[in-house]
Amino acid sequence: MTTSEFDVVVIGGGSTGTAVARDCAMRGYRTLLLERDDIASATVGTCAGMISSGLKYRDEPDIMAMCSKEVVYWNRIARHIIMKNPILAPLLDLSDAASDSSYMDSYSEHVGEREVPPMMFLTPDDSLELEPMLHPDIIASVYYEEYFIDPFRLCLLQALDARNHGAVIRTYCEVIDFEVNDNDEIEGVVFYNRVSGATEDVKTKVVVNAAGPWAHKVAKSADDKLPIRLNKGAHVIFDRRIVNVGLTVKAIDGRWIYLFPHENTTLLGTTALDTWEDPDTLVASFDEIEYLLQSMETVLPSIREARIIRTMTGVRPLVPEWKVPEGKVTRGYEIVDHSEKQGKKGLISFLGGKLVTCRHMAEAVTDLVGKKLGKEVACTTHEKPLPGNEVDVDIIALSKEYGISLHALERMRARRGTEMVKVLEHTKEHPEWKTTICTCEPIIEAEIRVAIREEFPQTLNDIRRRIRLGTGPCQGTFCTYKAAAILAEELDLSGDDFLVDILDFRAERWKGIRQSMRGEQLAQEELAQGMYACVGNLDQSDVDYDLKPWEEGC
């Protein structure tokens, strides 16, 4: 590191933290982002990626207007990582429709700017034509459209863009302490480098705490307080796009749940349980999986025939409202300036918020940072595109030029936009790098190597977040060892580290596979055990494997 003094230190590499780092860097503030794990490794990495119109929050018209406007901005700056899903809310009886019709009006109020049609009712025939697997007894359905973004890629692109504007991004750096003077003013941040094992410190006067479900812990390490409401949400993930359109339905308790085609998979979610557990240890429970399946079964009776590949679990950092269910807690956000609450001067924390509003949150907090620094600069994050979004990409021409399948290129385009050409250029010198390493997604070797060289991953899990390695039906059974070998080559790792990388990735995949094991996944796991334990003998390996938080105590 060349400097140990920054204008602002951002804590947390989720959607909000990376947005803040990008905004601060673009306004010319010397910015450091510290993330305890990897970019998008917690809450945002377990969401469905919907950049929502705010439909669920129609009681908060300001939020709806904000969401809608943000969608417009996202489509401007990041359209290469955005997909639009048509969504049906099938109705099985009239009471489903009659409960409240104001949502149609509130949704339709902003459709023009988002370039989607107004919400409308569809007949059963029209509904079944869109989605033939629907329950034949539906009496109608409500049709609307929402945009979805690749949440991993969004965070990474924000981080990379911040870096392009001079920010320093440090992953695997966990903030453990603050330097505070007698005046209660923050002067520096102390953090633990989890890769090197060293403790480091930097000087700064302003700290933005965007640690999500750990925000209260960060505040505590500054001897400050931050009440928060943590809420667990679980998803069940299917092996492919099992529906043509998204579906939303009311669950047994009246909450809305959804089934969304997402990248090459389908996501069924979510649950909402208040939690006080360590977010790192949480996994989906049998009850959560059944809650989701049984609720969606009411409109999609054949859902259990589809292949479930895993579950994923995250924690929402909500505004601390008591005595209301999760769904009634505001989806607006709060910026807590600790100095205004007799807390530490220079510490600013986030509560609440949504993926779609992360840029807005960043803009607001960066305005405040600018005030504190006495250097106010206008925000441009909604105008300047994220890397790769400059122009459209002609996949067909690229396929001909580089001799790579359209399918592989289209998946690469959805991650990189125009930047994909940088990957493809490598295959001129190294045609062997056109080899598909992850066949489920698919991902070619050149993209793995470029990701390792330019997107600062430390582990296979980090590569998974960057390019969806091992996220398909086989859950990394076949790509784990191949990608680990490439990582070992690129980072010049020891043999032990190569094996540890394999074990770590298997552990993380298993965390989600295990909870929903059934059907084909039984055979898939027999195969994985056969490869890594029976042949590879890794169950007997004496490498230095660290137990994961969710494995401890076993």
């Binding site: 094996l499 039984l522 055990q529 056969g530 334990a533 590879g536």
Partner: protein, 457 residues
Amino acid sequence: MDIEADLVVIGAGMAGLVAGTIAAEAGLNTVLLRKGQSATAYSSGAIDVIGYVPEASEAFASPEEGLFILSRLYPLHPYSIIGYDDRIETEKIVDTIIERARETVSWLKTHLDGTLAPLDGEFDSNIHPITILGTTKPTCLIQKTMNSGNLTDREDSVLLFVGISGYADFNPSAAAQTYLEDRMSTGSSPRKVAHCVVQVMPFGKSYNLSSIELARHLDHEGSIESIAEQLKEHIEQVGATHVAFPPILGIQNALRNKTKLEEMTGTTVFELLGFPPSIPGQRLQKSLETIFVKSGGKLLLGHEATSYQREGDVLKSIIATTPRRQIKIDAKAFLLATGKYIGGGISGDENGLKETVFGLMPVTGDYHSATDIVPSRSTSTLSISPMGQPIQSCGLSVDPEFRPVTEVGTEWVVNLFAAGAVLAGYNYSIEKSGLGVAATSGYNAAKNIVALIKEVP
């Protein structure tokens, strides 16, 4: 269409093919149904007998030692069952288990001699071949193409790992690094390990090469020479005495290719143990099918057992189905060798497990009913560990004759037997016992079947 047979074997992996061959050799009219690809074809092609007892960290020096200990600790293990016979005195049980396993191993070696998968190795010692990860694992028999000769005995041996450009299933640099560290930690030879990459271009393609493409390419006359040419320089550079290839040296001509490479380079050449899709696994599968057919057995490809007819305590017939036809097969005895989850013998949903052909009751590794277990609760939170995943020990419980039993502990019918991975009570991935259990249980179940049929007039 109806067929009559003495024995119908359902499943064409190691267990079914060994059993079918034994039965056919004993003169039984044997029909074997093969639905699709068996788990045997996915295996590394080496034949494990017993490497570890569960949760142990020290490998057994030999299958003999392993079975001696295992049969005392796990009296219901499929290996242990082969020693239970009314005619055998209690103190002879362990000896019988060891003898019968030894007999199976030597039967395999003899029968696979001259096939595409001839074997090396002895029942009296486990060997530790190198895998494509650069790790080693204990096993009993390896295919002759995997024999690394005096690699670890020679003080001055130098090992060269050879990768193939555009073939992602094997990375020579990671394997070399891992193996070298392993050698250094134990202070044993080879003390020098290197790696290199050669070009092999089936159909002129330089990327996305698969094991099967490479193996078929190398089966062709003349293809191995270009590899030998490329290797010479690398071998000279590091002074390699031994050369390790991924397991792709050919389907038909692998052994000949090994010999040719050895002659041309003056080194010992061998294949590593690999992952699926596995060429040595396919060589083994083909070889087992060949010896079965040679012994007079009938192999029905693409046939799945879909229903059965039972009268009292006797199974009368099964219906074998293909997309085009259905055949009723009457037989005196039946062997279920359908494998576990990969093979399709056992399947499961969120509510429990079932046996797929006859609806028999699967049990857990602790011999409790598995018909209503939640699969995730029969797992360990650790993905890869010496504890393994308990769900992989589920399967059928059998009597000393290898006949599946019902929940009251008696056999379901008198003439249905089971062998191989469909059996409960062992986890082959952590024991390193998969093909050994399959062969031994198939071998002994077949002996029991022959005895049963020969005593029926």
